[in-house]
């Protein structure tokens, strides 16, 4: 009885039209963002060469990726370094002196006066 009482037209309308409008709105956004990206995206050359002079005056080409970005591995290395820096997971000293003086009691065994080398004369 409950099923018969339901207005199926309304349900299908809300379901299909609602879902459809979500898609339409977001597809419209895709079009705008894509267009927007083409206008606003940073322009980069496909390849960029820089010359560095080494001891033999040789030219070394530093190639970048197709989009003009640095390679993924370099990105990962930079990200890891930043992560370590911001999370303070780095090897910087904490500036706390941890070396403690140790009191050495005198003993003939560690005496510098009676050392083996003291017998040499020049």
């Amino acid at each position: 009885m409950t099923l018969l009482a339901i207005n199926w037209n309304n349900i299908i309308l809300v379901t299909c039209v609602g879902f459809g409008i979500v898609f339409i709105v977001l597809v419209l956004l895709i079009a705008i963002i894509t267009l927007f990206g083409k206008v606003m995206a940073p322009k980069a050359k496909v390849t960029k060469t820089t010359t560095t002079t080494d001891a033999h005056n040789a030219t070394v080409k530093v190639e970048k990726t197709e989009e003009g970005h640095i390679p993924a591995l370099d990105s990962a290395a930079i990200a890891a370094a930043l992560h370590m820096y911001f999370d303070e997971v780095h090897d910087e000293e904490s500036l706390v002196v941890t070396i403690k003086t140790v009191e050495r009691r005198y003993s003939p065994w560690n005496s510098k006066i009676y050392g083996l080398n003291n017998n040499f004369t020049r």
Partner: protein
């Protein structure tokens, strides 16, 4: 002359007579007043004597005391006890299992407070019929009632959305706009659950509120439910946040079921970098476009994009820190407690709640499946294939769903990093669920 003297004397006598008469009247009145006061004093003394003399009925007093205790009310109506047990289960999930503790803990405490019989901390009748009874607010409304106004008027979800926006990076979405399609496909769960809830006998407004659980976006779910079906706010909020916490449990089996090993191993191409100017213009542009298309979604989208603009422009650091921390935390506390307070025994312990929980998890599962399936479909046409696992991140649940994509992807290919690719559909899901909420509000509100 004699006549004049007679008239004068008569006048004087008349004046004296009037004066004497007045004095006599005053005297009479004073006498009467004195008599009345005396009688009244005697009566008061008599009554006082009777009061003093009356004995306290210890038995009756104790009976009244015990009848006023919450324990008695709980014994008469064990549903209170069940609700307190449910609140304790939520405490366990929040504290021990750490399932969305930031929201589940205040929700559980609100639920506990509102189900303490006799305490009367929250008055549902002030919000009966779907609107605020302002005239009754001045008479006996408590703290929870006043805090609930923030939910009822849709204030807290919007303020939380400012905080969410200020913590969201739309860069991956801008770099790969196709992600928006995955975010749209993941809204399948919302509309499928709406359909299912209608079949279970919920009315259209209730079904829409249940369906929005599938958006996996707590503030959006609360915003829409407070507008369409406020009496279901408690169960829907609990279901939404519980399932969001269970994303790492719910999604992986669906993702594995719908994809092949080869598909899960797909390595995606690195996305382009996005300039700061793009990131600044994007929130302004989206606010204008979506608000013009769907005015009902303007509140949520506007707040989301305001927060994002604050973050991206970089000139209002103090405001950004405030909305990311203090504002968001305060709103979260108020939202959690008051939403929990709406989960009274009368509204929560019903077959309807079971229906909500069932449809909620269905919506989650279908939303995840929708994203994955659309990603597979898109791969039929794309030159640079996308890993279908990122499709499941189209349900909002930021950033949990994206992390799940990353983890499941690395199970098959440990060198595959899907996190940033999955963040695109993930933030697209936030926009998608807000758009879906706006559509449902405009159709059924």
């Amino acid at each position: 002359m004699k006549q004049s003297i007679k008239v004068f004397l008569l006048s004087v006598m008349a004046l004296f007579a009037v004066n004497f008469a007045t004095m006599a009247q005053d005297a009479t009145e004073e006498t009467v007043a004195a008599e009345v006061v005396a009688v009244a004093e005697e009566a008061v003394e008599a009554v006082a004597a009777e009061v003093v003399e009356e004995n306290i009925d210890l038995g009756e007093t104790m009976v009244n005391f015990f009848e006023g205790m919450g324990l008695t009310a709980m014994a008469q109506d064990p549903r209170y006890l069940i609700m307190i047990i449910i609140a304790c289960v939520l405490f366990y999930l929040a504290i021990v299992k750490q399932f969305e503790p930031l929201l589940l803990l205040p929700i559980a405490f609100g639920m506990l407070l509102t189900n303490l019989p006799g305490a009367g901390l929250f008055h549902e009748e002030l919000f009966a019929g779907g609107h605020v009874h302002w005239s009754d607010m001045a008479n006996g409304a408590g703290l929870l009632d006043f805090l609930y106004l923030g939910v009822k008027l849709g204030i807290y979800p919007c303020l939380i959305f400012i905080g969410v926006g200020s913590m969201t990076d739309f860069g991956p979405l801008l770099a790969n706009p196709k992600s928006l399609l995955l975010g749209a496909a993941a809204q399948l769960g919302i509309f499928a659950a709406f359909f299912g809830a209608r079949l279970l006998g919920f009315d259209a407004a209730e079904a829409a509120s249940i369906g929005i659980i599938g958006g996996a976006d707590g503030p959006t779910a609360i915003f829409l439910t407070s507008k369409l079906a406020p009496h279901l706010l408690g169960p829907i909020a609990v279901a939404a946040y519980s399932y969001m916490a269970l994303v790492p449990v719910i999604q992986p089996p669906i993702m594995r079921l719908l994809t092949t090993k080869e598909e899960r191993q797909i390595t995606m191409k690195q996305v382009r970098s996005v300039s700061k100017r793009e990131k600044i213009i994007f929130p302004i542009m989206v606010t204008i476009i979506i608000s013009l298309l769907l005015p009902d979604a303007a509140a949520l989208i506007g707040c989301l994009m305001l927060g994002n603009l604050m973050k991206e422009c970089g000139v209002v650091d103090r405001l950004t820190k405030t909305v990311q921390n203090e504002l968001m935390n305060i709103c979260t506390i108020f939202l959690g407690i008051t939403v929990g307070a709406t989960a009274t025994a009368g509204t929560f312990l019903s077959l309807g709640t079971l229906g909500i929980l069932a449809m909620g998890i269905t919506a989650f599962a279908l939303g995840s499946a929708g994203g994955v399936l659309l990603a597979k479909f898109m791969n039929l046409f794309l030159k640079n294939k996308i890993n279908p696992l990122i499709g499941s991140a189209g349900v909002s649940a930021v950033p949990m769903a994206a992390r799940v994509s990353q983890v499941v992807g690395q199970e098959e290919n440990p060198t595959n990093y899907l996190l940033m690719h999955a963040m695109g559909p993930n933030v697209a899901g936030v926009i998608g669920s807000a758009v879906a909420a706006g559509i449902l509000l405009s159709m059924l509100g």
